[in-house]
């Protein structure tokens, strides 16, 4: 009988893999001649080993998945959409500036949650305006200026 993989299994395995990658990466830490007795490598290695052990423990004690744990499709779509959008923000910002980017992100976020188009546009304009005023005007945060020229 196959046991359903619960979230504990998944996260436990991810932690284990992460611990192993971390330990692998720690091999390239340069030990220096001066400095202290413990050195820069020891502490990370202890941590990596600890995490690996704890992750194994978590996998062993993990419970199988229950029906109630499943996420509705709508939520999964909206979350993935948000992740993509925020990542896009990082790319879009230097190109089109802060206010347009805020507008687009808010619009996309709202649409992914099934709000009507008009409402989403409204939210987008509202937030773009408020955030522009607060962050760019009031706080003078140096956001990159839109480089429309670069696109033309």
């Amino acid at each position: 009988m196959r046991r359903a993989l619960g979230i504990d299994h998944v996260v436990g395995v991810i932690c284990l893999l992460f611990a192993l990658c971390y330990l692998w990466s720690s091999r390239s830490i340069v030990e220096s001649s001066f400095g202290d007795t413990l050195g820069p490598r020891m502490f990370p290695q202890i941590l990596g080993a600890l995490l690996a052990l704890l992750a194994v423990g978590m996998i062993i004690k993990a419970e199988p998945r229950r029906a109630a744990d499943a996420l509705p499709r709508g939520a999964v779509i909206a979350i993935i959409a948000t992740v993509i959008m925020v990542a896009l923000f990082a790319l879009l910002l230097p190109l089109i500036g802060f206010a347009p980017t805020t507008f687009l992100i808010t619009l996309a976020f709202s649409l992914s949650l099934r709000e009507k188009l008009l409402v989403s546009v409204g939210y987008g304009i509202l937030l773009a305006a408020i955030f522009y005023v607060v962050f760019v005007i009031l706080l003078a945060t140096p956001f990159p200026q839109a480089t429309w020229a670069g696109l033309i």
Binding site: D36, P44, L50, L54
Partner: protein
């Protein structure tokens, strides 16, 4: 000598009060208190996220002004967290979970007004007692802390991390995983003692390490939005109940007559212990009030002491928690961890010398907390209607605001989009961990303390030439290490004892754990 110290302390306090009402500082208190209440009230946003998201507002200010505003936000969010607990059955933070157990049933019975009023009064009394404790105990503790060497600091920090990992509900295992993950995050960057780059993958943006605030914005802000998305899609986004009259009956006052003081003391003492914060304070307060009450069967169904107690405790806990923060640089909770991050951004090094080198800052902050306390109780009672109306913001708009705040806040840390990507990454990580019921507060604390922890370990071992015995050589160090070991081993070796204790306190653990599994 005792008499001179007392007068000195009062003198400092007076000058601090004066600082807090001069010039812009008073405005900062007011803004901080108001915004903090609003943030604390929003479902899912707690003091730590609130302070982190609003940190950019303080960049242009001087350190004293900035800290004043941030502490105003901290205090305000303690007041505000109870509003969403009572009205929406959604705690803003782990400190408001216990308030929800009796506050929401009271709201359902139409007694929301009484619950809110009790919570405001309790918060005020708790806050005052906590502040008085802070005023008089901070300096003596700071002087005591001057004797601490690296091995004591190591032991203390270890204890703080283990305490946070084990004292929350849920698996000790997962708490420890959270701590180790946080410590690993803290190792990224160029090692200060040897100059070797660690885990930087040749990316210059990582040379300085991963910013604590970026982690918090991701783990508490963005992950929270993801969690809220679930609720919006499933149409579980809360509805507001009508508030009713804001008053308590004579009988309710009578029942709470000792609650205010008792829970405030509990909260303050718990707050001082590094690693034990609002969660433990409110839990102990609830248990104590239930034990002391003549009507314990009402708890969980709308007992007013169940609201007044935890609210007093979580506000007095602030005063207590600021002591290890200011005197030792040791945060005891996520919120104080963010304050630590803020202090570092301002270029201030907390520790025993803070009182000597920067007394204006410390006493200015303490003075303004008194002012904030008064402002908050005034705001909360007549103006609660305004706050409640703000809860009517549709969930989609609200979460869009939080998301944008997170993005803009992360960007303005270093004016770099890299931090936004970092925050996003930690948002995903935090969300996954939350689903697996891995607590996030220990992770955040570990990120805050990781660097110092490793540094004190290495310093200690250098002093002893590699002999680990030095770690338990002093009384203080040994006792904290022993306490940490007990906290880990205890529930594992004596699971029956743990179960017995849980049944004794008789708290609806599942209900509380269910709601606070996010935290």
């Amino acid at each position: 000598m005792g008499g001179v110290d007392l007068m000195d302390t009062l003198g400092f306090l007076l000058s601090g009060l004066q600082t807090s009402v001069t010039g812009w500082n008073l405005a900062y208190v007011l803004i901080g208190a108001f915004v903090g209440t609003w943030v604390g009230m929003l479902p899912g946003l707690g003091p730590s996220t609130g302070i982190a998201l609003l940190l950019p507002l303080t960049y242009g200010l001087d350190p004293t002004g900035g800290m004043i505003m941030l502490c105003g936000i901290y205090f305000g969010s303690m007041y505000g967290g109870s509003i969403s607990s009572i009205l929406l059955n959604t705690p803003g933070d782990v400190s408001s979970v216990m308030t929800m157990l009796d506050g929401h049933p009271m709201a359902k019975k139409g007694r929301a007004g009484a619950a809110l009023f009790a919570s405001a009064i309790a918060s005020f009394i708790g806050g005052t007692i906590g502040l008085i404790g802070l005023t008089f105990l901070a300096e003596p503790i700071a002087r005591f802390a001057l004797r601490f060497g690296p091995s004591e600091y190591f032991a203390l920090m270890t204890f703080a991390l283990i305490a946070t990992a084990t004292l929350m509900r849920g698996s000790v295992f997962k708490g420890l995983i959270a701590v180790v993950l946080g410590l690993m995050i803290a190792t990224v960057g160029i090692d200060l003692q040897s100059g070797s780059p660690r885990f930087t993958m040749n990316n210059p943006e990582l040379f300085d390490g991963i910013s604590l605030i970026a982690v918090i914005i991701g783990v508490f802000g963005i992950a929270e939005v993801f969690g809220n998305i679930e609720e919006i899609v499933e149409k579980r986004w809360g509805t507001v109940r009508t508030v009713g009259r804001l008053w308590m009956t004579g009988e309710e006052w009578f029942r709470c007559r000792y609650t205010f003081i008792r829970s405030s003391v509990i909260g303050f003492v718990v707050g001082i212990v590094p690693g034990a914060g609002g969660a433990v304070a409110t839990l102990l307060s609830y248990a104590a009030e239930k034990r002391a009450s003549k009507h314990p069967e009402e708890f969980g169904k709308g007992a007013i002491e169940g609201v007044a107690g935890p609210e007093a405790a979580n506000n007095s806990c602030v005063g207590g928690a600021l002591i290890p923060l200011f005197t030792l640089g040791l945060p005891g909770s996520s919120a104080t961890a963010v304050l630590l991050g803020a202090l570092m951004i301002f270029g201030i090094q907390p520790g025993p010398k803070l009182f000597v080198e920067n007394p204006d800052l410390v006493w200015g902050v303490i003075g303004s907390l008194y002012v904030a306390n008064v402002v908050l109780v005034i705001l909360n009672i007549p103006f609660i209607g305004i706050f409640v109306r703000m809860l009517l913001i549709p969930g989609t708009l609200l979460n869009a605001i939080i998301l944008m705040l997170a993005i803009a806040g992360a960007y303005s840390l270093n004016n770099s989009v890299f931090d936004v990507v970092l925050a996003l990454t930690f948002g995903c990580v935090g969300y996954l961990l939350r689903k697996a019921k891995v607590p996030l507060a220990p992770l955040v604390l570990a990120v805050a303390l990781g660097g110092s922890l490793e540094q004190s370990l290495r310093q200690t071992l250098s002093l002893s030439g590699g002999d680990p015995g030095i770690l338990v050589s002093s009384g203080i160090a040994a006792s904290f290490i022993a306490a940490s070991a007990l906290l880990i081993a205890g529930p594992l070796i004596w699971p029956s004892l743990a179960q017995l204790m849980q049944r004794r306190t008789g708290i609806r653990q599942e209900a509380a754990a269910e709601k606070s599994s996010k935290i």
